[in-house]
Subunit: 223 residues, 2 copies
Amino acid sequence: MATKRTYQQYCGLASGLDVVGERWTLLIVRELLMGPARYSDLLANLPGLGTNLLAERLKFLVGKGVIEQVDVRGTGAQLAYALTPVGEELRPVILGLARWGMEFVGELRAEDAVRPQWGFLAVEAMLDQRRASDLTESYEFQVDDEVFHIAVADGRASAVKGAAVEPVMRAKTDAATFVQIGGGRLTPLMAMVTGRLVLEGDMDAVVRCCELLGLETGAPASR
Amino acid sequence: MATKRTYQQYCGLASGLDVVGERWTLLIVRELLMGPARYSDLLANLPGLGTNLLAERLKFLVGKGVIEQVDVRGTGAQLAYALTPVGEELRPVILGLARWGMEFVGELRAEDAVRPQWGFLAVEAMLDQRRASDLTESYEFQVDDEVFHIAVADGRASAVKGAAVEPVMRAKTDAATFVQIGGGRLTPLMAMVTGRLVLEGDMDAVVRCCELLGLETGAPASR
DNA sequence: CGGAATCCCGGTGGATACTG
DNA sequence: CAGTATCCACCGGGATTCCG
């Protein structure tokens, strides 16, 4: 145990991988990108990860200053893990890798796990700030039992957990459909036709939201 | 062998990690970011990687369309591996992780491997396009026996292998010093004083180059 | 010589049972 | 609920051998 396996290379990438390169580690960080989570939350959302591994990874990441234990909701009653500022700096890296990996998500298979928050992540990864509208508006997403929204203001777009105050558009769908749309395997139009996606609100806003996410709506006259 | 271990999650990040998340894989891609490399080049620059693992990883990555075999220099005489466009899209991800990992490169230890191209990578990772000068100029770096340069033109900076045509600045150093400077563990001034870094050319250009890389020169009156 | 298959064996990691 | 302990399959590191 004293002999932690490392690459022993004097290089930023190798050193980074020595910290977050081992199996499951980046997926744990992914879960924490959506906010603090408890041990059992992580275990539930990472099927296949053993309890010993999770404990070991968490301890290791705490030691490296990537995550920390926080008490959420009251005085020490509920412990949880959260990203430190150093861990938070992994967000663009993880979003970038998630976008890259979209290329490789195939058809949904029976044995694949799906979680709403991964759709959330997909949307955040697809956000293209350069296409952010000048308008101030927000789009709400209800994915299974999770709700989040994209808030556009001052030409900046951000993905946030929770409901929007006055969304100009609301999308309701399931996690699998959401990931498929995010990965470009399914157009919003196709999803609507098959009843897997329900859109409410201003249809112009829907178009703006699709543009913001770099999505083809599935309607003709695009690319 | 038919049962490749995967995360089985319907998520871009998990799918991406199923492709490049295994041990050594991203380091192999890192080497190819600097241009095509042959099997033995890779083996030489990745100490600790076994021949079987390298062969397996290469085959796997070729199968996934991340890399491909190319014949460099003549007709099929010299085979080499190169990134495909898909693999090339990993560049920003790897540079981001390399920058993040800089935080964790400690003191150089005797057993650590160092390569000039990793310093090259470090510099590329530190390039901040927003600070690119309006001037058109280039800075040359001689790191051990490797030479590369940063070319600034049209407000864009890029890191390129090989010598510059008419560099306004030339830096000579060793790979370890270079990585340390890149990681902020050493200021250029400190490196010069200790004789590990030699700078030639226009000293104003040196300052501009440092700014481009987000480096403190080590001189007073900064931060 | 470049590229890769075949061994062996130690360490990682997956599954389950158990404990504070 | 939050981990710890234990078992064992299998991945990965090293050397050797093989093929072209």
